[in-house]
Symmetry: C2
């Protein structure tokens, strides 16, 4: 089957005079999660993981992915695809192409699936061997016969009662920055940025309530490029009233072609796809910087923060229901699989007000499976839970008033002393991050280390960042901020009051078990002028059965007791009597 | 006087058709400390601080420097020079030039005083206004009549007993990396790199035992470009025997012109001056990366580390002598100024074996003066010490077996409760850095935060990095590593076993006092595989009068007691009976 696809693809490549083709994991909006229509890499290679790049030449078919996906890729990749293990998360396939292509060869890409910056980088690297990068459009149009259609789900309004700011106010803020920089137009291509700016939401991408569109803000009007079918008449009128005018999705190219040397376009070349970037008239002046919206969106306003806390309380209720159910089920020695548990946590969320769906595919992982930080239970590997050892559940919900993301690691029965020690070390790091205070100007990279200190002391560590930004009824992973050890990207962004981040240190022992403790933090002014601190706004007990109190200092014990007391206070009146008793016991003080 | 200089300079600029001239703080080797010959900026402006850039146009004369030097610059700058306060340490004068020069103007520079990267950056920025950057050579040749001559101090050999590796071995290491990268030549222009590679030392720059030269390593020979007068016949023969051939200093240009398309030159454009870079034949292939030597030199070998510890013991003896003397002098209520104290610490170092001179100009600062981290006592501002409050001494020595850098902050009499609190907070950060263990791959930026956590908790911080790399009988500030909060530069370098760094957190209260505690660390394998840790190798008591034991946890008290015990053990047999008693008391346990 895959051999057939490759054969047809190579025939097409030959007709286009291509020596190689790159098939990335991307859509034209550089989305993290893809609409089914754009899952070409998965269709071609069989590998369904969320990151990876396929490269096809005349005599090689390779897939490059990172360590999170080695096992999955080995299981799923269809012949003739060969796995190339990425050492770092960089485009190492470029080095491979440089070595394996001949002088003067031609490499094909769908330019709409790469950012303008990426294509510039490709050109610079491949120039040493005079390899030409050729935009060939979407070659899968012809090859992929049963391709899922592009979705056209309706748009709905995200009410101002939830957003705290009208679209008019938000656009005004963008305009004032536009004018400050002497720019005339601001182009938005990231779907969550457009949804935030216009207070609209949709269902075009699984887990992400976004709307396929482009948006162009100028001094006097705002253009939304979108398939008109997605908009009801009342919504269209609402947008028009607010000075937002709708044009067909495809017309963005034509508008960009009409810009000229009197215009200054602010766009983000690191996010704008190269095909569209190429449509901008050559005479138009450019400012390439992170979009104005990405920063505005990251700093949550007080209305959003208050709503968000309410959503977190409901999410906490769902999580407590789930953990209580899990405990009972284990006690009764009933059969539960990882997939059953993942389904159950979604069911409990569905009972909650304002719930709109999961914010990502839950990670429900028992013992050794949890040692893969991005494990995904499938029908194939689905494991039965046993009343012993530890279980990890990383899940979240989309609510009209917030996006949640929480991980709890719990004992299903007897656990080892070592498991308790490691859980406690992870917890100490989690608390150190949660309780730190730091001066304005501090970046995520400066905070990230705090989560690791206690693990380091024992010669242990974890292989992912400590946390990511999180959207407000938007994408669960949101920039620009993050708690990462990398000196580029999210870790290099200055933290500001109002930013939300996850705090999710972990520990993974290959073949044995995995631990992660994840709460959401909001950044707020500290007690001292010029300083900031975090407030934890996820409310759900931590499993005391996994805590070794003797490894904690007094401040850590006080923090846990306060956290539990606060959780009980916020949830107790929202749960059944049975659950209330359970919660009382789960949140009782450690000492 | 300055008016005269500016008048002559402007006449010269006019004759060269220049609209502006930049006068940096630099020499052709991008040295941190300058030979007197290159102190043109100080001569022209009157400002003697170690960082600053003068810009002269037809109607403006400005000096840009950073916050460390605002007060000093205000005191020293001669009219008509105007102080421009740098917000960050970036070339903000470029923005000023862009705003104040006309379209098509010409800016003059001495291209030998800027790196190739810098000049490229200038060109890119100034191109928007079509401002031409013109290399005009050394304009001060004619203007500066009493200019100090270029020194020609003799070179001496740094014995292999000290270096642990012969120059032949070192060159072989460089060659193997050169061959790995398919490069044919490696050009060294940083003076400490040449001194390290060839195991030579000199006296061409104050505080830095380096030799003015260039060095070109190819697959079969090594060329040293140097004034032959500096070399005695035996040294010349030694070098020749080891395959190092000497050519006149100026000949480097000619050799670079002879390279062609068969050659691949590895040079560091961020360090190589633009004038010399321009001599490289255009057909020659280039690799621009940090020099091979900078990394090799940073990782000290076991022989160097062992010697270094011996030098540190002697330096500790000198420091103890000094602190003991200071205490006695204060008790006797004798008059001592900051300059007297600085002189005294140098005198005690002079008594030590292998001492070659100070490693930098000591910072001897009483109370409010110490609030300026880079305070320099001069005849003008020299302050008398009183038997009250706190005094800071930051000093170091060059020894044949190591370069030292130590800061102690001590009570000269009664101190305030607040001073003790802040000293203890700084000490807690110092200990946290000294005792951490961390996985391979960790960078200085990840460690830097540890020094600040306890200060942050109180809404306090300090405005400099936690530490810098340090040379071995070489420059006191040495790259590429460092403990810095910046995500670029030294903080972004991965720490490796054998690297040496200072650990010097501080706290500064403007107008009141300053605190800094500085020891040298060596990075070594940790107890767990894949982990590293530090060993503190500066031996000198911390002032217990400034420590609030109640703010310390048990581990911190244990660390201090062990540190003191170790210091006593290493120094006790090397000091007089009187000093031994003093040391015993100073290093007695806290509990």
């Amino acid at each position: 089957m895959a051999l057939e696809k490759i054969k047809s693809l190579r025939a097409l490549m030959s007709s286009l005079a291509l020596d190689a083709l790159i098939v990335p994991t991307a859509d034209p909006h550089q989305s993290e999660y893809l609409p089914d229509f754009w899952k070409t890499r998965a269709w071609l290679t069989g590998f369904t993981g969320s990151a990876g790049t396929a490269v096809i030449t005349k005599n090689h078919a390779g897939l490059w992915t990172d360590s999170r996906y080695f096992i999955q890729a080995e299981n799923e990749l269809l012949p003739p695809f060969v796995l190339h293990k990425l050492k770092k998360r960089t485009p190492e396939y470029l080095a491979w192409l440089l070595e394996n292509l001949e002088f003067g060869n031609t490499l094909g890409i769908d330019a709409s699936l790469f950012s303008a910056d990426e294509v510039e980088y490709f050109n610079a690297i491949l120039a040493v061997k005079q390899i030409k990068v050729q935009a060939v459009g979407d070659v899968f149009e012809k090859l992929w016969t049963n391709r899922p259609p592009l979705v056209n789900n309706p748009v709905f309004i995200h009410d101002e009662a939830f957003t705290g700011k009208s679209r008019v106010e938000k656009i005004e803020k963008v305009r004032s920055q536009l004018i400050n920089k002497k720019a005339t137009h601001h182009l938005l291509s990231a779907l969550d940025e457009i949804a935030w700016l216009l207070n609209i939401r949709g269902n075009d991408i699984e887990f992400n309530p976004v709307v396929t569109s482009y948006c162009l803000v100028s001094h006097h009007k705002t253009l939304l490029f979108i398939d008109a079918q997605k908009l009801s008449n009342p919504i269209l009128e609402t947008l028009n009233t607010d000075g937002i005018f709708v044009q067909p999705y495809e017309d963005i190219s034509q508008i960009l072609q009409q810009l000229n040397n009197k215009h200054v376009l602010w766009c983000n070349k690191a996010g704008l796809n190269h095909a569209l970037f190429g449509q901008i008239d050559a005479t138009c002046n450019l400012i390439s910087e992170a979009s104005i919206v990405s920063q505005l969106k990251a700093v949550k306003n007080p209305v959003e923060i208050n709503h968000y806390k309410q959503a977190q309380i409901r999410d906490g209720v769902a999580m407590c229901n789930f953990l209580h159910w899990l405990e009972k089920t284990m006690l009764k020695k009933q059969m539960v699989s990882e997939l059953d548990a993942a389904r159950q946590v979604m069911l409990f969320r569905q009972e909650q007000k304002n719930y709109m769906g999961p914010s990502f595919n839950p990670i429900s992982a028992y013992q050794a499976n949890a040692a893969l930080p991005h494990y995904s239970a499938t029908v194939k590997n689905n494991t039965m839970l046993k009343p012993e050892g530890i279980y990890l559940i990383d899940s979240g919900g989309q609510y009209l008033d917030g996006t949640t993301d929480i991980t709890r690691t719990v004992a299903l029965g007897p656990v080892t002393n070592e498991q308790k020690t490691n859980f406690t070390l992870v917890l100490k790091g989690h608390i150190r991050v949660a309780t730190t205070t730091f001066p304005e100007g501090t970046k995520g990279i400066h905070i990230d280390t705090l989560a690791r200190l206690d693990l380091w002391r024992q010669g242990k560590d974890f292989g992912h960042g400590t946390g990511h930004g999180i959207g407000y009824f938007l994408n669960v992973h949101e920039g620009p901020q993050g708690l990462s050890p990398s000196s580029q990207g999210p870790g290099d962004t200055v933290l500001e009051s109002g930013m939300m981040l996850t705090n999710e240190p972990g520990f993974y022992l290959k073949g044995a078990y995995g631990i992660r403790i994840e709460n959401v933090l909001v950044c707020k002014p500290g007690e001292n002028t010029g300083f900031l601190q975090f407030e934890t706004i996820t409310y759900c007990p931590l499993d005391k059965n996994l805590i070794k109190t003797e490894l904690l200092n007094e401040q850590e014990i006080i923090w846990i007791n306060n956290y539990h007391q606060n959780t009980y206070r916020l949830l107790k009146d929202k749960v059944s009597d049975e659950l209330k008793s359970w919660l009382q016991e789960k949140t009782s003080p450690l000492y």
